[in-house]
């Protein structure tokens, strides 16, 4: 059971997802320097562990981890395209993270559960919308 492997699995899946107008350089990671200057859209990935549970009382029992993989989608404020580009990106992300799909890293499987999208909001010079992807890892 590894939080690191879960995060890596989710990020790997995000990188493997084709997202309109977003390249690997347009993704902001946690605790990493990212300068959006000159960009008109970018996404930011957040790994949010929530709960841990056990599968049994015995020594060495397996664990289950649940949490949220949040991808925030930023587009320039007051765009001529409204939020169309943003919603296209959201659609692309959700296509990559379909319900019941899996992400594997270092032989650990992470299950993708439901995803939700919130309403957009202004965030400095950007218009932001969050995609929240519930995950479950069982080892």
């Amino acid at each position: 059971m590894s939080f690191l492997d879960t995060k890596q699995a989710l990020l790997t899946k995000l990188l493997a997802t084709t997202i309109t107008g977003i390249t690997a350089d347009d993704i902001s990671y946690e605790n990493g320097d990212f300068d959006p200057k000159g960009k008109d859209k970018f996404i930011a990935a957040y790994f949010i562990p929530a709960t841990s549970d056990t599968t049994g009382k015995q020594l060495g029992a397996m664990q289950t981890h649940r949490g949220i993989f949040q991808v925030s989608v930023f587009v320039k404020l007051n765009s001529n395209a409204y939020d169309n580009d943003q919603l296209q990106i959201v659609d692309d992300i959700l296509t990559g993270f379909q319900y019941n799909s899996t992400a594997v890293y270092n032989a650990q499987t992470t299950n993708i559960l439901e995803s939700s999208v919130n309403s957009g909001s202004e965030n400095d010079a950007w218009f932001k919308r969050d995609v929240s992807i519930d995950y479950l890892t069982i080892i």
């Binding site: 549970d53 599968t55 049994g56 009382k57 020594l59 029992a61 559960l113 069982i138």
Partner: protein
Amino acid sequence: MAGSNDYIIKLGASAAEAVIAGQLDGTMTQNGAPVDITNKADGGNVRYLHSFVAGKQITFAGTFTLMSETVQNTIKAAIESGDPLAGIVETGVGGESWQCDTWIVTGRSDAAPVNGVTQMSVTFSTSGGYTPTAPTV
């Protein structure tokens, strides 16, 4: 004081029992009732037969994470066949336990929630005699 995680049922021959993988919640119930031998001479009071318990039995209702594991599979087979299993319920408190060579397993119920881990609930019931070990301080 011991934590509840020490309160488990183990299966196998006496003194060689194995922990069942995936045990979650469990409830032990000690069944038994006094025998009423009230008669007219008791003047209207209730009188029980002393030093005798009718319907003596230990039951243990447990919930397990469903998995393909040797001891768990033994339980599943025993439910299907009705064959008894040897095992012991240990409280983890003062060494108290109840050992029986003939636990009967019944009442399997599997819960398979959406987006969750599948769990199996079963009930172990002693058939015939069992050996209690009293707790010590």
